[in-house]
Structure formats: structure tokens, C-alpha cells
Subunit: 216 residues, 2 copies
């Protein structure tokens, strides 16, 4: 089986922003409210960490529960990992996700600043400075034959798409506008020269965009 | 985690038939052509046994590759298992699926006629006469905590739905008419009193109906 590089459940506003302005410790998505962006996923039965009963088992739930299937490693940008910029002041920051990160695989954090690897439950974080192609090579080697997820944020995913190392993308357009922030795309059709593209409306109000390489 | 009883990827014609008239060894679906009914699945990258390159990675592929996720046992009617009727003439018939059945779990075949269990690769077939509730109990106990699939055919699935032991259904309506055969439903809305129901059109021309119990 061929290993693929995939983007999953990556959610943007109707005007194409994946995160707001002014990321900080208190506001990981800046002025954007992640609960609004991710409302479609939070409403599903399979949302990680759901403790209350209920939750949709409809179309959105298929995407949420597909998150970990066949994935052996994740690559993320430093801004997804934390709010710090520049050299690491210390190694106390272990990510946003508490004691049990939802990855359960090796995670490769792209950064210009060295830091030792560490493990948290069954997730291991590695830090590296690498081109998209080299990062994919590292992650694929650690993925035990499974696929590699490019997890975000928007700048990281764009750089991997622009380097032509992404095989599949699932991008969710939420029915909200943000007006400013970090934009992922101007228009959902802008990759159609290189990717097959299906857009599927969901009862929750989001539209699921599924893209896969034309040459795959 | 609560075990669920699920129907997956079960495909019917636009006029509600899941199989044609006159099932035989040569025509497992009677006058219906299974390649036409299942065209949507056969065109996906993840179709079991696909040997050629290509294949869609769009919406239909999500459903096909979800088939085995979280499933620990299958229940099927005797007509899904084979074309024989009445007492087993011998035990030579091992199902339609060759040396490697696509189930990879225990399979419980409902029949009024006793037959010893047998294993084929990582699938084990058991034969039992049981009510839907009792069959679900047996399969759930063998499912290692995972969900139970009710695999078909249409008469079996209907009897389980009518006995109110099915939690979720994914029914695919293909854009063909059969005119006769074994009908699954008169109308996709006929379970809406008991099930939430989303219908999702796919680029392939089929419509995915996703139903889950209102009280779940």
C-alpha cells in the first residue's frame, strides 16, 4: 500500500480564513472562536473527549471518526503547537492538548529553533527544521507504513500544497465569516487544476470539500 | 463504549429493490446486475480486491473504507450466504467470496438448518436459528466489544429493523430501476419516525441515506 499525505477535517470560514488575528495563550485561534468554526465536529457522536450522550451519527460523524484511521504520523507548524515565537524560553510548554493529545502517533513540529523530543501518553513530539518534502520523508519513515497527516495551521498546509507533496485534502467550510486572520484559500476551486474536487453539503450547514490528486 | 448494530453500504435501486428475481449460483442477485448496483463502490480506491490503479477518493470512498472500522461481527441471512434452500445437501459450499472473505470477523448465518461452523482465512462462519434479538446477542458477545453489522439481504435487514434492534443504517440508492425482486423499502422516509435521517447526494449519482436511532 502506498503511503499518502493527507489533510483532514481542516476547517475554514466562508471567507477562507482558518484562524483569526492575534493568536495568544488565551486565544489559540486569535479573534476567531474555535467552537464556532468546529461546531460541526463538536456536534458529532465521535468527537474526541465527548462525555455527554447524544451527538450526530450523520455525514459529519463519518469525517470525525475517520480522523485516526490509517494515519501513522502528523506534521504541524509551530503555531499549531503553541503561541510562542522565537527561541524556546524553556521546555515547559507541551502543547494545547493536556495529558492525552488526540494524535496517538509521532508528531513532527516544524520550527527554526531546536528542542528535544518528548512523549505525552502515546504521542511523541519531535521538532525539526525541514522543507515540506524533507518533513514528509521523516514523518513517512516514522509512520509504520501508514499515511501522514498535515495537521495545520493554514500557512503550513499551504506550504505543503504549494510544494506539491499533499495527496488528499478534506477541507470544511463553516457558515461563518471572519473578515481577517490567516487565509487558507481565496476560493475552493483554486486547486482544481491539480486535484479532483467534490463538494458535499452537510445538514449541519458546513460544506465538505474533498480533493485528491489528479495523478494519484 | 456502547456496542451498536449497524447496516453499512447496503445498496438498493431507485425503486427500492436490493436484489432481483431468481437468485441462483450463476446470478447471486437474480436478474439484477450487482456491478450496476455497486458501481458507486467499485469505482472507489478502497474497494476490496481492487488491483488496478486509480479509483475515486471522494465521498463514496469514505463509506467504502469505513466498512471494517469498529466492526467485530456480521449477521447475514442465508440467501446472502448462498443460493441453496432447505437442508444442506453437503458442506461443500463456503460462500460466494473465495478463499479470503471480506469480513475478517465471526459471521453468523441465519438458517433453519443445522451446520457446523467453519473458518476461512480470518473469517469464521457460524450457523444459527435465532430471533433478531437473540442473533444480535450472540454476535455482540463474539464481537470483542466492537459493533455488529447486519449485512443483508433485504429480508434479513428488514426483520432486524422491524424487531427494533438496529441502531444505524447507511443505505445507498443507486440511479437504476429494477422493477421487481426483493424490496427493501417503499420510500426512504419510511423509518423517519424512529430514525434521524440525512440524505447526501454523491458525485457518482447515488444518494447516501444515513439513519440513526432517535433514542440513541
Amino acid at each position: 500500500m502506498q503511503q499518502r499525505v493527507r489533510v483532514q477535517n481542516f476547517t475554514v470560514s466562508a471567507d477562507g480564513y482558518a484562524t483569526g488575528e492575534g493568536q495568544s495563550l488565551e486565544r489559540p485561534f486569535g479573534h476567531a472562536d474555535p467552537a464556532e468554526l468546529m461546531r460541526w465536529g463538536l456536534a458529532t457522536k465521535s468527537w474526541p473527549g465527548r462525555t455527554d450522550a447524544g451527538g450526530s451519527r450523520g455525514l459529519d460523524d463519518y469525517f470525525i471518526r475517520d480522523f485516526s484511521h490509517g494515519i501513522g504520523a502528523e506534521i504541524m507548524g509551530r503555531n499549531k503547537f503553541g503561541p510562542q515565537r522565537g527561541p524556546w524560553p524553556d521546555h515547559g510548554w507541551l502543547g494545547w492538548w493536556g495529558d492525552t493529545p488526540p494524535f496517538h502517533t509521532p508528531v513532527f513540529v516544524l520550527t527554526h529553533h531546536e528542542r528535544p523530543s518528548f512523549a505525552l501518553a502515546d504521542t511523541t513530539f519531535h521538532f525539526l527544521e525541514a522543507s515540506p518534502a524533507d518533513a514528509v520523508g521523516r514523518a513517512a519513515a516514522a509512520a509504520n507504513g501508514l499515511d501522514v497527516r498535515v495537521g495545520g495551521g493554514p500557512t503550513t498546509i499551504r506550504s505543503f500544497v504549494d510544494a506539491d507533496v499533499v495527496d488528499e485534502m478534506h477541507i470544511v467550510v463553516a457558515p461563518i465569516t471572519l473578515g481577517a486572520g490567516v487565509r487558507f484559500w481565496d476560493d475552493p476551486s483554486e486547486f482544481d487544476d491539480r486535484f479532483h474536487h467534490e463538494s458535499v453539503p452537510s445538514a449541519s450547514g458546513v460544506t465538505h470539500h474533498i480533493l485528491w490528486r489528479r495523478d494519484s
